[in-house]
Structures are given as C-alpha cells and as structure tokens.
C-alpha cells in the first residue's frame, strides 16, 4: 500500500506540475496549447539522454526544461503573430510530429525500444536518521502550508455566515456526502460479488446502470430540493470539503512520512517522491507570486483583450512568448519527473491523451487558478487510480472496453461540471459571466 501511495503522489505531483504549465499558458494568458505533451516529451528525452551520457542530473534536468522552453520559443515565434487558432493547430502538429520523430530516429531516441536504465535522482542516497527526520519535517511543512491554504479558503467562504447555520448545514452536507459515498461503496461491493457469481453480463450491467442512475437521481433531487434550501448551504459544502481534504490529506501524509522515514526500503521512489513534492511546492509558490505581480496582470489583460493591452503600451507578443516558454519550461520539468517515475521512456508515453489529461485537470480545477490546478490533479489522479483498479472488479467489461469507458465517464463528468459549474471547482464565477 505504501509503495502504491508513494507512486500515486509522484504521479499527482508530475501532473500537477504539468497542469500548472498549461494553466499559465491557457488559464492566465489565453494561449490555446493542444500539444502540451510535446514540452513534456522534450524534457523527458533530453534529461534522460543527457544523464545517460554522463551529464550531472541537475544540469541535465535544467537543460531538458530549457530545451522545452526553447521549443516554446520556436512555436511562439512562428505562430503567435498569427490569429490565435494557429497556435492550437501548430501545437497539435508539433506534439504528434515529435512523437513520430521519437519513434523513427532510433540513433537518438532508441525508437520504440525506449530508453532504460538511466540515472534516477537521490536513488543512491542512504540518508542517516537526522537527514530523514529533516526530510519528514520538510514534507510536514509543505503539507502544513497546503492545509493553511485550505483554511484561508474556508475562512473566506464562511465570512458572514452565522455559526448556527454553519453547524447545521455542514452536518447535513457531511451526512449527505457520507451516505452517498457509503451507498456507492455498497453498490460496488455488491456488484463485485455478483460479478463473481454466474449472473449474465447484460443483467449485471443493466442493474448497475439503473442503480447508479437511480441513486444519482435521488441525490440530485435531495441536493436540489432539500440541501440548497438550508441556510448557508455553500458554507456547509465548504466545511465538508475542507474536512474531507484534512482527513484524506492526513491519511496520505502518514504513508509519505513513513516512506521517508524508512528511506532505504525503496530509495529511488522515496527520493523521487520527496523531490517531486518539493518541486511542485516551489513552482506553485513561484507561480502564485508571478500571477499576482504586475507581470501576471499583463497576462490576464492579454487573456481578455489584447488590443487593450497594446493600447496601454504592453508588448503583447513578447508576453505571450514568455508565457509559452515558461509554461513549456515547467512542463519540461514535469517530463523529467515523469521519466524518472516510469523508469523507461517510450514514444508511446507521450500520446495526445496526455495533453488532454492536462486540460481536464486545468478545466476541472478552474482555469486561471493555480490552487484549482493542484486540486484538479489530485482529483484526476485519484479518479484514474480508483477506476483503474476498482472498476474491473465491478463492471462486466473487458480491459480495453474499460479503458474507453473510463474516458467516457471523465467526459461525462466534465459535461456535468460545465453545466453545473462552468468556471471549474475553484474558478470565480464572475470571470465567466461578466461580459463586455
């Protein structure tokens, strides 16, 4: 379990970083990048190939991210002066082209055979107790800062709501969400039992569909008719989600801390986990500072109306270029993490699907919101892992069908989200509805 959680953390951190890059480009600057995975591929290949040929890991990583940024420069110089849809088209093209180059240029990328046995960061480290305790403390600090963010957000949400209303509505919300969770869990257990028995597939499938739709319908009705009538319903929802974050976070944290403490049990993964969490924390902090600075203000202005930005003396092209390159740099870093986690680099790791994972993460959390991107990454990866391992016990579909089914469900969830909350989970509604 610990090993599983550790790799879940690494994947989440990787995709959080990857999503943060896209969020800078699209969420803050409005650049439509449909080939984000290209930056990741450049980062992954450059880092691993350079480190294999003896370049120190840190330098190789920086060069990898730098080359990803250079790719951003190249794409930007050729398309950013044109109409904005050209960027979308060119980025798709470039990402597929790079993947094909990786397949075919075997002298460089070893083709579909892939790159293996490249050096991993902190893998040979055998830290003594004080160092390990120090690492746990750093982790604790990062998690603590995360909780503090949640706390600040909660306080904003609860401002001006009477205490009485908060208590009742949060209890109601906890009951609502808790019972929903238990019910779905029960359905899952029941279905997995039935799947083992000789029930025909179609009957099980139909039964599941009807049950899930039924439960969904009842709970939607309840939420619509009963819960939303409660005074302070949104505050209650905020408290319930905050409580969930706390419990889930502490649960995850325990595994991570224990893994760090027993570093030598699996040095390469543990080191990578530590590194990736640290990297996400640093990049997140840096980006938060940037988007709140005058620099970030110019990006937001460009996102909304670049003519106005020009009329006010801002060199729009130059800012778009910076945003594309910085986002590419961050995605390049994510590429290095990705390669280290997979321990092999194949062209197939960089299918267009990965780009759309990043879009899902950013849209889910709320475009133009870095905290939302982190949340989106956590939700997305949790979903991915839950469904990958749980659904096959429940749903009577073959493996390849299940893969398609999971993507379908993501699409469905995104559609529901777009209807119910088009600004994403943490996005600001005003940023969508206030027209010109």
């Amino acid at each position: 379990m610990e090993g599983y959680i550790v790799s879940l953390i690494i994947f989440t951190a990787t995709f959080a970083l990857f999503g943060l890059g896209l969020n800078l480009q699209w969420g803050y600057t409005g650049l439509i990048n449909f080939g984000h995975v290209a930056f990741m591929a450049v980062g992954a290949y450059t880092t691993t190939l350079l480190s294999l040929s003896g370049v120190p890991l840190i330098l190789a990583t920086v060069l990898g991210a730098g080359l990803a940024a250079a790719l951003g420069l190249l794409i930007g110089l050729s398309t950013l002066r044109l109409r904005e849809d050209y960027l979308a088209i060119v980025t798709i093209g470039v990402s597929e082209m790079l993947r094909l180059v990786a397949v075919n240029e075997e002298w460089l990328t070893r083709g579909t055979f892939g790159i293996q046995r490249f050096p991993l960061p902190l893998a040979t480290l055998n830290p003594r107790l004080p160092v390990r305790v120090g690492m746990v403390m750093v982790l604790t600090l990062v998690v603590g800062l995360g909780f503090w963010q949640v706390w600040v957000w909660l306080q904003q949400r609860l401002k001006g709501v009477p205490r009485q209303a908060i208590t009742t509505s949060s209890l109601a919300m906890l009951g609502y969400l808790g019972s929903l969770g238990l019910l779905l869990y029960g359905v899952g257990v029941g279905a997995s039992q039935l799947k083992i028995s000789d029930l025909p597939d179609w009957a099980l499938g139909l039964g599941l569909l009807i049950t899930v739709i039924g439960i969904g319908w009842v709970y939607l009705w309840l939420g619509d008719r009963v819960l939303s009538q409660l005074p302070g319903a949104t505050a209650g929802l905020a408290v319930a989600s905050g409580a969930f974050c706390l419990v889930f976070g502490v649960w995850i944290y325990r595994f991570a801390a224990s893994a760090l403490y027993h570093y030598s049990r699996n040095p390469s993964k543990t080191g990578l986990m530590f590194l990736s969490v640290l990297l996400v924390a640093i990049v997140f902090w840096a980006l938060q500072r940037l988007v709140r600075s005058p620099w970030g203000r110019v990006l937001k202005a460009i996102r909304e109306d670049e003519e106005v930005a020009k009329a006010l003396g801002k060199p729009v092209f130059w800012y778009k270029l910076q945003s594309l390159m910085l986002g590419g740099f961050i995605a390049g870093l994510a590429g290095a993490l990705y390669a280290w986690q997979l321990t092999t680099v194949y062209p197939d790791n960089f299918r267009p699907q990965i780009t759309f994972n990043a879009w899902t993460i950013v849209v889910l959390g709320g475009a133009g919101n870095n905290v939302g991107t982190l949340l989106g990454a956590a939700l997305f990866l949790t979903y991915e892992n839950l469904t990958r391992f749980v659904l096959q016990d429940i749903i009577p579909l073959s493996d390849s069908q299940l893969g398609a089914f999971r993507i379908m469900v993501i699409g469905l969830l995104l559609m529901v989200l777009m209807v119910w909350r088009p600004q994403g989970i943490l996005g600001k509604k005003e940023e969508l509805t206030l027209g010109r």
Binding site: V308, G313, E430
Partner: protein
C-alpha cells in the same frame, strides 16, 4: 509645419490613406494637434474618423502618408510603442477588462513598471512593491476625481456603460500621456455625466494634457474644442475654430445630407 503662433504641432498626420478592399476609408487625410489644445475631429457616420485613430496609433497600417508625434516620425513603431511614447487612445465602444477589478484596470496602464519583467518580481521585489504602492495612490486619486473610487475593488464588468467610458478615460490618464485620443467619449452617456466628463477634460487640459476628440455631440465639441477638423468620406473637408466650422456651408451640407 509651424502654426501662426510659431508652435510645433504635437501630432501631425500628413496625407494618410487607407483602403479596405474597394472602400477608401481614409483618403489623403491630414491633421494637426497643437500642444495644450483640445482638438475636435468630426464627420458623418462612416467618414473614417475611427480608422484615422487606428492609423495614428498604428493599430492599422496606412497605405501611405506620414505621422509625426512629438517631433519624431512614428511610422515604424508598434502599437505598444505609441503608448510608451505618450500617446494613448480610447475605443469607440469602451473596452474595459471586465474580469479584472477597476483598480487592476488602472494599475495595468501605468508605464515603466519594474514588476512587468518577471525576473524583477524576485530580483527587485522591494522596488516592485514600492512602485505598486505609488501607482495605487495615483490610481486612487484619479478614480476619486471621476467618482469611481467607491468601486475600485469591484470587477470592471460590473460597471454601467457610462462608468466604463469614465474608467477607460481614467485608465488612459494612468499612462501619464502627452496626448489622449478619445473616440466618442460622450456616446451613450447621460447628460449629467457628459457635463462631468467635459469638466474633467477641461481640468486635465489645464493641467497640461492635450486631447484629440472624436464626437458627434456638437454641444460637447463647441464647448471643449479650440480647433475642429472635419472629415467626410475619408477626406479633409474643413478645419477651423468651432464657430467657423458651424458656419461652413460645406460642413452643413455634409451633415444634413446632399
């Protein structure tokens, strides 16, 4: 190009032309704006006034003609250079950034901000903070003077049409320009607010700011402008003091229809 008082014009456009397909939107048009003046630009709908603004600010590339601003030719400059040189425009339909707050709209317009280079956010963070504080004060003062101070923290998208016009003008002032081009500042604004806007323009003009104003509201033109240029079908029709223009037979004909 020196006028009767021996003053060099702040902005001089000479023989500008621009065609869109078959339409000659601006046809050999010239214009001068003297420093410290409030100059008017009038003409029937579709006369090419907005297009002329677009040419002056380099939003649209002219087919031919020269533009000289503050003694230097600005032909080769990009739109953003124009604002940095001290010439700023507003749009006919107010374009505020509705997803930014009113205050952020104002702060965006300030020039030479250290914090607009992303490395300075770390390397010179105290300078950035200091500048930001000063600009905030300046923006508050301008917002105060146009009566938008109480909405500084609201989204600009929450403003009414007239308030957006005010914000756009206020934002242009944050650039600390020498010349402000206003495209129909009074369009869609109620009479009281029009008077307010006129008062502000006069006051800022007395503080040394030069204006070039497109306006259909003749009362506004007559009460504000020192000199008026008339455009019709992209060509210069007349220029002179407001009173001269009012009595010009050609102008009356152009406005009242052939």
């Amino acid at each position: 190009m020196v006028d009767s008082h021996g003053r060099q014009p702040l902005l001089a456009a000479n023989a500008l032309s621009k065609s869109f397909g078959g339409i000659r939107a601006v046809d050999n048009a010239s214009l001068e704006v003297l420093p410290g003046s409030i100059t008017g630009l009038i003409g029937p709908n579709g006369a090419g006034k907005t297009t002329l603004f677009n040419l002056l600010c380099r939003f649209v590339q002219p087919d031919s003609g020269q533009i000289i601003f503050d003694g230097v030719s600005i032909q080769h400059l990009q739109p953003h250079d124009i604002a940095q040189q001290g010439m700023v425009r507003t749009f006919q339909v107010a374009r505020v950034l509705s997803k930014l707050s009113v205050m952020e709209n104002m702060l965006l317009a300030a020039q030479h901000q250290a914090g607009e280079r992303f490395w300075n956010v770390w390397l010179r963070s105290s300078t950035v903070r200091q500048q930001e504080r000063e600009q905030r004060e300046q923006a508050s003062a301008i917002l105060e003077s146009v009566g938008l101070a109480h909405m500084a923290q609201d989204y600009a998208g929450a403003l009414s049409g007239g308030q957006r016009k005010l914000l756009e003008i206020a934002r242009a002032l944050m650039v600390r320009p020498k010349l402000v081009l206003l495209d129909e500042p009074a369009a869609g604004v109620n009479p009281t607010l029009i008077n307010q806007i006129c008062d502000h323009i006069l006051r800022w003009n007395q503080e040394g700011l030069t204006f070039l104003i497109i306006e259909h509201n003749m009362d506004v033109v007559m009460s504000l402008c020192d000199r008026v240029w008339v455009l019709a079908e992209g060509r210069n029709l007349a220029s002179g003091t407001p009173t001269e223009i009012q009595q010009n037979a050609q102008v009356l004909e152009a406005y009242l229809g052939q």
